[in-house]
């Protein structure tokens, strides 16, 4: 008997690619250790954020730059339940969300910092009053510390088009915070684009930007002389990354831009592997680590195809 492999694929892709793409010095706990409590700040690496682990890694590095310590919790083991919602298992979704929230609670945090709009939406629906910590997108914390961050920034001569989503108050707040961060970076110019709006709550997994709209966004950005399109979410980053090959306009996550302004160096293997534009070449680059981690190459290939070459 074989069933559909919805969860197996979703979670194994995250598990394996997360380990393969994360820098060696960036680790996360899949089962939060109560001995670390109280941990005022927890960074949550959501399932799909494992495909671009440089994003939560940068979150951690930026917090360190601010002198803030955080415990990093991740792995599909701390899934918010969105994959279950997407699969139509609406009875499982709240149970999975509750399990993750209870796992975070074991660290007695003040705030759990998210990098994922799906997690923000799901946890906002299922967070019971008994859960005392605040759950918020990490951009909110950056805004709280923006005056200090500004003092650490170096000029960054970059002409950018911000891509955004505005379907709900949460998405509008994320957009406004991203813009506030970008406006605070000396030397960075925000260009007046008209076609950079994404659909629904984010691109890629739920409602990808249609190809004609995506093309229009990149053509406009190029016409405006943009160096980069800056996105608020990892999912948008994943959908649009490949467009750099045909349009020569880079895709940047806003946290990458902030890190550059702060002089934080980082490796970004997702983009490097995608811009190879060749799955065999991507696998060849990953092969030493695939062997070291004991993964099956055919399985990794499937996930590279699904989650990087998408």
């Amino acid at each position: 008997m074989e069933t559909k492999q919805v969860y197996t694929t979703t979670f194994e892709a995250a598990r394996m690619l997360g380990q393969l793409l994360a820098p060696e010095d960036f680790k996360w706990d899949i089962i939060p250790d109560p001995k670390l409590a109280p941990a005022p700040l927890v960074i949550h690496v959501s399932c799909n954020a494992h495909f671009t682990p440089f994003i939560p890694h940068l979150a951690h590095l930026i917090l360190k730059r601010l002198g803030l310590e955080a415990v990093v919790v991740g792995g599909p083991e701390n899934c918010c339940g969105f994959p279950h919602h997407k699969a139509g298992d609406f009875d499982l979704e709240p149970k999975v969300a509750e399990a993750a929230l209870n796992a975070f609670a074991r660290l007695a945090p003040t705030t759990v910092l998210s990098v994922c709009p799906d997690c923000d939406d799901v946890f906002s629906r299922f967070k019971e009053p008994s859960i005392k910590f605040k759950h918020t997108n990490i951009s909110e914390l950056f805004i709280d510390h923006l005056d200090r961050l500004k003092t650490m920034m170096k000029p960054l001569p970059l002409r950018v088009v911000p891509h955004f989503h505005d379907v709900s108050p949460m998405r509008r707040a994320d957009t406004e915070r991203m813009l506030q961060i970008l406006r605070s970076i000396p030397g960075l110019e925000i260009l007046p684009a008209q076609h950079a709006k994404g659909f629904d709550i984010h691109c890629q997994t739920w409602k990808p930007m249609p190809p004609d709209k995506q093309e229009q966004m990149f053509v406009e950005a190029k016409t405006l002389g943009a160096d980069a399109i800056v996105v608020p979410y990892h999912s948008c980053y994943r959908q649009h990354c490949k467009m750099q090959l045909t349009h020569g306009v880079e895709i940047q996550h806003y946290m990458g831009v902030l890190a550059m302004a702060l002089g934080i160096e980082f490796d970004e293997p997702f983009k490097r592997l995608r811009l190879l534009d060749n799955v065999d070449a991507a696998i060849a680059e990953l092969r030493p680590k695939i062997i070291r981690l004991g993964y099956r190459e055919d399985e990794v290939r499937k996930y590279v195809q699904r989650s990087i070459y998408c």
Partner: protein, 101 residues
């Protein structure tokens, strides 16, 4: 310690697939996969996910909560060695399926 064998139903009542069975004292999942019978705990050892709703690939079952994968041909070992799913022996005697607890 000797196993206590509990009858869980007639062999013909377990077609291919996963079946959640309640006895007087226990709940167990009885699975028929590629013709072979297995029995295991209905709760994932990670966070109590409903194993009767597992995804199945051969004799490997994956919990729908977080995708922990257990090999029923290897005593329920999780493929990343995160833990074990409790499995139980199964026998068929005169058309009746028994699970050894």
């Amino acid at each position: 310690m000797d196993k206590k064998w509990i009858a869980v139903g007639r062999d013909e009542n377990f077609p291919e697939g996963l079946h959640l069975i309640g006895t007087a004292t226990r709940t167990v999942v009885v699975a028929r996969l590629a013709g072979d019978l297995y029995a295991f705990n209905p709760l994932c050892p990670h966070m109590g996910g409903p194993m009767e709703r597992s995804e199945v690939q051969g004799a490997i079952i994956a919990c729908p909560f977080h995708g922990w994968r257990f090999d029923l041909k290897d005593s329920g070992r999780e493929l990343h060695d995160y833990g074990h799913l409790r499995t139980y022996p199964v026998k068929v005697d005169k058309g009746e399926v028994f699970v050894g607890f």
